[in-house]
């Protein structure tokens, strides 16, 4: 009962992006996927959420294959992906962005309830419901993107660089929020980050990727304290 990725390979045309990726995440765990720019982290998430096709390998969520499915099908199976760079639609209002995550369930009362829960988590969004999403600050946009995913009531949340382009103090808040909400909602989270230290601090396990291959995987606290890894990949 978990996310299992085995021998996953993905390419961008002739260029190989991921080669034989293996790792697994237990239900309720937070896994941080760490690696430098261009290591293949974003490609990994895009493949798992159905935006990109794999060339070989398997990925299962709760023992059912997820490769080769469309993102909207996977949302129905409880997998929501917050893509890189504040995945909100700036032309829509805050409220419309949130409603979007609930349309597939077809029950307006359900969506309204889910939105209320999100507003409880992010009161700032509640104050800005009718504003256009492009009036939000970077941190608020990230909250909105996560909030939209939560309205879909996911079991597995794929988060791509939520700290990207945010001020250090906001980054800290975002990581705290992720940590709180995954405990509160019992979410399984796959968190892709360049911000290695902050991500590993709230993670149960870490997966370190370099040039399209997994170079280390294990409990997050062990990875943090491994001097060789720190020097080579974590950069501090």
């Amino acid at each position: 009962m978990s996310l299992v990725v085995s021998n996953l390979s993905v390419s961008h045309g002739a260029i190989s992006a991921l080669r034989g990726i293996d790792f697994s995440v237990e239900v309720g765990q937070l896994a941080a996927v760490i690696g430098a720019n261009g290591a293949g982290k974003t490609t990994l998430l895009r493949t798992l959420s159905g935006l990109k096709d794999a060339i070989s390998g398997n990925a299962t969520w709760k023992d059912r294959e997820i490769l080769g499915k469309r993102p909207d099908e996977l949302v129905r199976r409880g997998i929501s992906h917050v893509s890189e760079g504040k995945s909100v639609i700036p032309e829509l209002s805050v409220k419309e962005n949130l409603i979007l995550g609930g349309i597939w369930r077809g029950k307006k009362s359900d969506t309204a309830e889910a939105i209320n829960e999100v507003v409880e988590l992010f009161p700032r969004l509640g104050e800005r419901m009718s504003q256009s999403a492009n009036t939000l600050s970077g941190g608020e946009r990230q909250m909105l993107a996560i909030g939209r995913a939560l309205v879909s009531r996911p079991k597995l949340l794929l988060l791509d660089e939520p700290s990207l382009g945010l001020a250090p103090i906001v980054i800290e808040q975002i990581f705290q929020t992720i940590d709180q909400l995954r405990h509160r909602l019992g979410l399984t989270v796959l968190l892709v980050e360049q911000n290695a230290m902050s991500a590993l601090e709230i993670a149960d396990i870490g997966v370190i990727i370099n040039l399209g291959e997994v170079v280390a995987t294990g409990p997050a606290n062990e990875l943090i304290n491994d001097p060789a890894l720190r020097a080579a990949y974590l950069g501090y």
Binding site: D72, V75, S80, I89, L100, G101, I103, R148, A149
Partner: protein, 298 residues
């Protein structure tokens, strides 16, 4: 003063029909990034269906209803059977940009031939739902007719329905989201391919209304809606191609502008006027009259 008012009213009535065609083009462009030249053919086919029903039943509005349904089905069919397949095969490079547009041209020719084979090329005349003779006030008859006012009202009703659909319903939200960002819409659980097909259906239905309205003024032939496509396209470009409100405003501006030329300058200059407006807008405000500082690019 009176002539100015008449020009304005007739311009509004002409422009409101352009607005429907312009909207149909914008709806497809926003969701699919294709300039749908086949829209003229789709509207024409729908109008022939509407014409048959209206002529047999002697009820214009029943014909209009059938034209909407036929247009919607045809629009959905074009997306489902042509565009989806096309995008599956042409997914990169120049083929992706050119192939769909060429395909819509091919489709226009195909529909025209099928209509020609079925109905022949002769001029068909539809009984208009209201008089084309101008309103009379005492001794004075103005060019603005009951049919013109009915056209404006019909278009206004359609626009209100569309505005409510797009702004107030989940389907409308899904349509807008899929147009702005198909990827995020899909990640939010929207079935974007299906949503796009619905967008094509709405565009097709709206085109059918435009065809029926034009045909209540003029004869129907396999070529009679080509001008509507041209002016609808110019209006869409004036409005910036992206914006539904822009499409309507662009069409009204164009309709009034062309009527001014018609009434004050002369018939022969209407075309020159239409294309001059198009060129001026493209040279001065290439993103259309609705563009504010920053515009989302394709």
């Amino acid at each position: 003063m009176q002539k100015a008012l008449e020009t304005l009213l007739i311009g509004l009535s002409t422009g409101s029909i352009y607005a429907l065609m312009s909207l149909a083009l914008v709806l497809v462009w926003r969701s699919t990034r294709v300039i749908n030249f086949a829209q003229a053919g789709q509207a024409m086919f729908s109008t022939y269906i509407g014409f048959e029903i209206a002529t047999r039943s002697q009820i214009f509005w029943l014909g209009l209803l059938f034209a909407i349904v036929a247009g919607a089905l045809l629009g959905a069919g074009v997306d489902y059977f042509f565009m989806r397949v096309l995008f599956k095969h042409a997914n990169s490079g120049p083929a992706l940009v050119v192939a769909p547009v060429i395909a819509t041209l091919g489709l226009l020719g195909l529909i025209r031939s099928i209509v020609g084979l079925t109905w022949g090329g002769e001029f068909k005349s539809l009984t208009a739902p209201a008089s084309k003779n101008g309103f009379t006030f005492g001794e004075v008859t103005i060019p603005f007719s009951p049919l013109d006012s009915l056209t404006i009202i019909t278009v206004a009703v359609i626009l209100i329905i569309l505005a409510l659909l797009f702004q107030r319903t989940n389907l409308g939200l899904a349509l807008r989201a899929s147009a702005y960002s198909p990827e995020i819409a899909q990640l939010a659980g929207i079935r974007t391919a299906r949503t796009r097909t619905i967008g094509w259906a709405i565009a097709g239905g709206v085109g059918g209304v435009a065809g029926m309205l034009v045909t209540s003024y003029n004869f129907l032939t396999p070529y009679s809606l080509d001008l509507l496509l041209v002016f609808g396209f110019i209006a869409a470009v004036i409005g910036g191609l992206e914006s539904m409100v822009g499409a309507v405003i662009g069409a009204l501006v164009l309709g009034i502008g062309l009527t001014i030329i018609l009434n004050y300058v002369g018939t022969s200059l209407v075309f020159i006027g239409g294309f001059s407006v198009l060129l001026l807008v493209l040279l001065i405000k290439p993103d259309g009259i609705m563009a504010r500082g920053k515009v989302r690019r394709g």
